[in-house]
């Protein structure tokens, strides 16, 4: 059983006005098989947490620790983190010119699994996963994210989640910009990964809508770079009706 442990994590970025602290002491533990929802207003630092775990060079960890099954994630390169079992479904995945999805997915699977999947099995696996996510077959020959609609990008991220079967998956606003049908398809994909019991999921979202399809075990409210409150699914219901006002100290009452 895998465990992701984040301890007193402080993260800074270089901004115009100098160094700015975005994460101000995050503590979070996710076990495989659990689903945690991380909810918070825009600008609270949710995505920064996701990218810091994945190792994006823009974010500097000034103190604290991240471990996966006791291994120091901060010592690993970006590719090594993925190989160790971390996965980040991005909100705005970039276009990569010249690289077809089929070649990208197979190279990625090779990196994660440590050996190239057998061609016949791989084609079958890809075909099945694409059909379940209602992805058009022509998609495999297109370049990575090039000309993809918002919905196609999200499906593509979840396709990768299913094919790579990580130990820990961080899904950064995977629900944003999706219509109801697409949200349902994407949620089903996430639930298939959850059902394996082998993957821990950290679902980052601004809205509670996706939580009707992907039911969390734990809900965390993220404000000002740290977790301000934690509870069960009922906490999401409370945010649904009351919003984040109660967690925004000055602005809400001023």
């Amino acid at each position: 059983m895998s465990t992701l442990e984040i301890r007193d994590l402080h993260v800074t970025v270089e901004a115009d006005g100098g160094t700015k602290e975005i994460l101000t002491g995050v503590n979070l533990t996710v076990h495989a098989g659990e689903t945690h929802a991380l909810m918070g207003p825009n600008g609270s630092g949710k995505s920064t947490l996701a990218y810091a775990v994945a190792g994006h060079p823009k974010y500097t960890v000034s103190s604290g620790s991240i471990t996966l099954d006791g291994q120091d994630v901060l010592e690993m390169g970006v590719d090594e983190r993925a190989q160790a079992g971390l996965f980040l479904a991005m909100q705005h995945p970039v276009e990569v010119p010249g690289v077809s999805m089929s070649n990208f997915l197979r190279t990625s699977a090779t990196a994660i699994r440590g050996e190239a999947p057998k061609l016949r099995l791989w084609l079958k696996e890809m075909k099945g996963a694409m059909e379940r996510l209602a992805i058009d077959p022509s998609f495999a020959q297109r370049n990575v994210n090039e000309g993809f609609s918002g919905g196609e990008r999200k499906r593509s991220e979840i396709l990768q989640l299913e094919l790579l079967a990580p130990k820990m998956a961080i899904l950064d606003e995977t629900d944003s910009g999706l219509d109801v049908d697409a949200l349902r398809v994407v949620s089903e994909g996430i639930n298939r990964v959850r059902e394996s019991g082998q993957t821990g999921v950290l679902l980052i979202t601004h809205f509670t809508r996706i939580l009707r399809y992907v039911q969390p075990d734990h809900v965390h409210v993220f404000v000002d770079g740290r977790i301000a409150a934690a509870g069960g699914p009922e906490l999401a219901d409370q945010i649904e009706s009351e919003g984040y006002a109660a967690y925004l100290p000055a602005a809400a009452t001023a």
Binding site: A54, D79, L88, V94, P97, N103, R106, T110, A111, N143
Partner: protein, 407 residues
Amino acid sequence: MSAIEEREVSLTPASDLLPRSTSRDLAQFPLPNGREEVWRFTPLTAFARVLADEATVAPLSWTATMPEGVSLEEVPVGDPALADLPYPVDRPAALAQAHARHALRLSVPAEAELAEPVVVRLTGNGDLAHGQLVVELGAHARATVVLQHEGVADYVEHTSVLVGDGAALELVHVQTWQDAAVHAGQVAIRLGRDARIRSTQVSLGGAAIRLVETVEYAGPGGDAELIGVYFADAGQHIEHRLFVDHAVPSCRSNVLYKGALQGESAHTVWVGDVLIRAAATGTDTYELNRNLVLTEGARADSVPNLEIETGQIEGAGHASATGRFDDEQLFYLMSRGVPQDVARRLVVRGFFADVIERIGVPSVEAQLLAAVDAELGEIDPTYDFTDLDALEAGLEAIGAGAGEHRA
């Protein structure tokens, strides 16, 4: 500051860029000063030796592998067989015609169909060399010809490619020079009635390369497919210029050039001039240039230039784009477990795949893939997929299956 400089607009009409020269007189091509439209991208100091009016010091050596039925011979300057060659369009081409000690003439007789490619290896001997080559296919002949440049030289070239009526030529012009080589010149293609050429330029090695490829049509029905692959490293200058002169009706030209750049001051130039004259009704032309900038500090210039003097054409178009392989793309691929060197190779191989497939000479395709790989360094064999074709075929099968499923 952006790593990319790109120019998509040229203010000079194609007809003015390469004036029709009507003599081989060197005096009509004075030493450029760099302000001329056709020289403004070129680092003249790097090309000083090949622009100088000096005699050949060390001619290129050549060896050839040839199938039956082909003749390859050194023809003396002044031989009547050389009288009607295309005129030079710039100073290096004129210098090559003026100073070459003889012409190397490859001749494929009418109606001969060669089963194997002709491969001519031209090797530099470390000094100034002028070369005049003639590749001539008789009517309805079919041949594949590879001209490969190796070693070190300051090489000045004029190559005439004469494709007879109804003949078809696959020409591959490869620059795999060693690092210090400089190469400038012209490949002048003349197509007979209903003649076809697929001409591929491959520029990988050398310090500085500047090649002009010209196409003229001697009769209707001519078809020119012009392909280019280039890869510039730090400090390297690679310049490819095309001038397709549609002066007769019902001819076609299709241009696809792709270049990658990596390293400080790597510089590539692609200029594609297509002129459709008033008489050239029914012309069909398209040109495309794509560049991929892999690192900071490299610069790709790209100038498509189409001038149309008649409305009665089948089609005419061009496109040019320069993309960057940037840190966000690298992060994305690495976040899926792909190591950095593999990510870079994935991008470059994918970028070149379609153009390499179009060359149509398997031995050259394999050599080119290997050369592109060599530009990128060693790779972990785990990722060295050899069955990409099978993958593509399998994917098409998936597409067909899903199509039936939906129907």
